[in-house]
């Protein structure tokens, strides 16, 4: 099943610019104990990172992931305060990827990306925009991607619903029986 740019537009129509969470840019502590501000990644790096994570957290039967995620994330990066939280979470994830696996997320093989997400704790963490590293990665990266997918028409179709919650798909489908 193919995700399209139209799916991205539909997902954005559903969820726009973020839930209005507080900006979660926490200070990092350097190796020698000094505090330094995180270097926030630019749009392209955020998009590449989320495409790489989507290839792990999206079902394997989907195609068109790069187009969909790039369009969706590009728009999400235009709205504050969500964009800053998203950039900070990607910075955190890339930082951990570099320290534990020697490269940024987008450069790691898929199986290492999946292992990294588990090592971060993003699989079991509660999602919280103001929480721990694991909770912020869950909120801004993993759940961001899952929210985009499962509020889109194609994501809905994957699970048997043409008009998923959050998608303004009209008032006809609820009247129809199974096809």
């Amino acid at each position: 099943m193919e995700l399209t740019r139209r799916d991205a537009v539909a997902a954005l129509a559903a969820i726009a610019g973020g839930g209005g969470a507080a900006v979660a840019v926490s200070e990092r502590v350097g190796e020698n104990g000094d505090h330094r501000e995180p270097e926030l990644p630019d749009d392209e790096r955020v998009q590449r990172t989320l495409v790489a994570v989507a290839e792990v957290v999206y079902p394997s039967e989907l195609s068109g992931v790069e187009t969909f995620v790039t369009a969706f994330v590009g728009s999400r990066l235009s709205t504050e305060p969500h964009a800053s939280g998203l950039r900070a979470a990607v910075a955190t994830l890339d930082d951990l990827a570099g320290r534990w696996h020697g490269d940024r997320v987008a450069e790691l093989p898929p199986e290492t990306r999946e292992r990294l997400l588990g090592e971060v704790g993003a699989d079991t963490a509660e999602s919280d925009p103001d929480g721990t590293d694991a909770e912020r990665v869950r909120y801004y990266v993993v759940n961001e991607l899952l929210l985009a997918l499962y509020t889109s028409p194609t994501g809905g179709e994957l699970v048997g619903i043409e008009n998923p919650q959050g998608h303004p798909g009209g008032v006809e489908s609820y009247q129809r029986g199974p096809q």
Binding site: A13, A14, I15, A16, G17, G18, G19, G20, A21, A22, V23, V56, V57, Y58, P59, S60, E61, P81, E114, L117, D123, T124, E126, S127, D128, P129, Y139, V142, N143, L146, L147, L149, Y150, T151, G155, G156, L158, V159, G160, I161, E162, N163, P164, Q165, G166, H167, P168, G169, G170, V171, S173, Y174, Q175, R176, G177, P178
Partner: protein
């Protein structure tokens, strides 16, 4: 951080000079009163909460879907402003049950709008329990019709058990759902009649409101504006010259010998005093009682307008009863967030032992796929398989059940806890009573019969042990003819103060088993007429 609501100091929140009417509360009752009086009188509306930006509704919808947010977060509720106690036998989750701000709780409501039945107005006489209302269904009939037009109700005249109607609803009803057709087969077999649900939701374009586009998050937020909320009437009132002041929390009302003279309100830029000839309290079943209790004086030591001692007494809500299960076939749930079929067949069988109730056939039984996807510790193909397994074959029948007013169920003040301004917080002391629990059992019996006839495997029941409130606050400033036993008269004016009216479900003597907002709206329009007549007649 911008949260889509007005910032604290970006508006002039000073009082209006020469106001004829001060309305406290910008929910549906206050908005309708203000709109009714707009253009003819100088009206000011004070609301404790903010003015929300309509352009921000998609963000609020995201909060509704994401598990990181709790329900009060969607409309910025909670915190010191909304602190409360719940000392009763039953816990009452007050901040899940209300929204403070311009539009009030209609911002997060479901939008079901049916009229009370005729017998609801004479419960004591016909059912042998509870008080009669001092007005009848016929007294309110024209205002019900007007309220349906104001709220924009989509409905059909197909309820054989409902009260009489003189005219059709303003819009056609929403079509039945696929799952309604499954229920219909079982109900036919059992001799249970189903009929449409009147919805304050546009089934076609209505007075500038979009037709419903099926976002599926009606409760707690409708991004399209198809669902009615009270910003509709606030905006129209403002266009006609009404002043609406947000973040204006009324601290107390000050009075003369027989009139309210001033509302003292706190804003981010300090405390102000709003004078007016007439005051209309429209801040719901909890805060209306609270502001009267906070306004105790030498003349009214137990609270303003409380010579009867009834302010805050008889707090009641509706109770939920439900049974759900799964079928071995698709049921097509969660495409929309509203209901299309219900049954009032058993409503008027009510007596002293079992109260009125209505059955509701769900269109959103079971989990929503996106909410499933955002929880759990899996992803990829495993997550997809989990969502596919969990979604698609759920069914459920709910019920709304009457709770009688009781002396041991009330809203008081908690002297041990104060809000951000140092005022005692409301204490919701909620007690349910045996008749409501017996009614839930009766509803459960029918719900089980329906699901068993449908061939469902029953997986959950909400019964007497684990029922909860429907978030309809009623009863705390009861309407009646006797000043010793009620707070307002049949025109909803306080017995004690000749220039103070109450527009709220707080005046309901009983609540029946229908969602209360249409009755709130009808009473508000009637109150608006009464205030207009008093002002036009030179009474003040």
């Amino acid at each position: 951080m911008s949260n889509g609501a007005t910032r604290e100091t970006d508006r002039d929140r000073s009082p209006v000079t020469g106001a004829d009417v001060c309305v406290v509360g910008a929910g549906p009752a206050g908005a309708l009163v203000a709109d009714r009086l707009a253009g003819e009188h100088e009206v000011v509306v004070l609301d404790a909460g903010p003015r929300f930006d309509p352009a921000d509704r998609l963000r609020r919808q995201e909060r509704a879907i994401r598990p990181a947010y709790d329900r009060p977060d969607v409309w910025d509720g909670g915190g010191d402003r909304d602190a409360y106690s719940a000392s009763g036998e039953w816990f009452y989750p007050l901040n899940h049950a209300r929204v403070k701000g311009i539009g009030g709780s209609t911002l997060h409501w479901q939008g079901m709008v049916m009229r009370l039945h005729e017998d609801d107005f004479r419960s004591g006489s016909t059912r042998g329990v509870g008080p009669d209302w001092p007005i009848s269904y016929d007294d309110l009939g024209p205002y019900y019709a007007a309220a349906e037009a104001e709220l924009g109700v989509a409905g059909a005249n197909d309820n054989p058990f409902g009260p009489p109607r003189d005219q059709p609803h303003p819009m056609p009803a929403f079509e039945p759902s696929y799952s309604d057709s499954l229920f219909a087969e079982a109900c036919d077999e059992l001799g249970i009649a189903m009929h449409s649900v009147p919805n304050a939701r546009a089934s076609e374009s209505y007075e500038g409101r979009s037709a419903c586009v099926g976002y599926g998050t009606c409760q707690p937020v409708c991004p399209s504006g198809a669902k009615y909320d009270a910003t509709v009437h606030i905006e129209r009132a403002e266009e006609q010259g009404v002043t609406v002041i947000d973040r204006a929390q009324v601290q107390r009302l000050e009075h003369g010998s027989d009139r309210v003279e001033t509302a003292v309100y706190a804003t981010p830029d300090g405390e102000h005093r709003q004078s007016a000839d007439v005051f209309v309290l429209a801040c719901g079943g909890v805060e209306t009682a609270r502001v009267l209790l906070l306004s105790a004086s030498e003349q009214y030591p137990d609270g303003l307008a409380n010579t009867s001692g009834r302010v805050g007494s008889y707090f009641f809500d509706h109770l939920f009863a439900g049974v759900g299960g799964v079928l071995d076939e698709p049921t097509r749930q969660n495409h929309v967030g509203f209901l299309t079929s219900e049954s009032h067949q058993f409503y008027d069988e009510a007596d002293a032992d079992v109260g009125p109730f209505k059955l509701e056939f769900f269109n959103y039984a079971g989990p929503s796929p996106v909410e499933l996807a955002l929880t759990g510790d899996d992803w990829g193909d495993d997550l997809l398989e989990r969502v596919r397994s969990a979604y698609g074959n759920h069914v459920a029948v709910g019920a709304l059940v009457e709770q009688l007013p009781r002396p041991d169920s009330y809203v008081g003040l908690d002297p041990e806890q104060t809000d951000e301004h140092g005022n005692p917080v409301p204490d919701v002391h909620w007690t349910v009573g045996d008749r409501a629990l017996a009614t839930i059992e009766r509803a459960n019996e029918l719900q089980r019969e329906i699901l068993e006839t449908l061939g469902a495997e029953i997986t959950w029941t909400v019964g007497p042990e684990d029922t909860g409130p429907a978030y309809h606050h009623m009863g705390t400033t009861r309407m009646g003819t006797d000043p010793e036993h009620s707070v307002v008269d049949p025109a909803c004016r306080t017995h004690d103060l000749e220039n103070c009216w109450i527009a709220s479900s707080s005046v309901f003597p009983t609540g029946g088993a229908t969602n209360p907002t249409l009755t709130i709206a009808a009473l508000a329009l009637r109150t608006g007429d009464a205030v207009d007549a008093a002002l036009t007649g030179g009474r003040f």
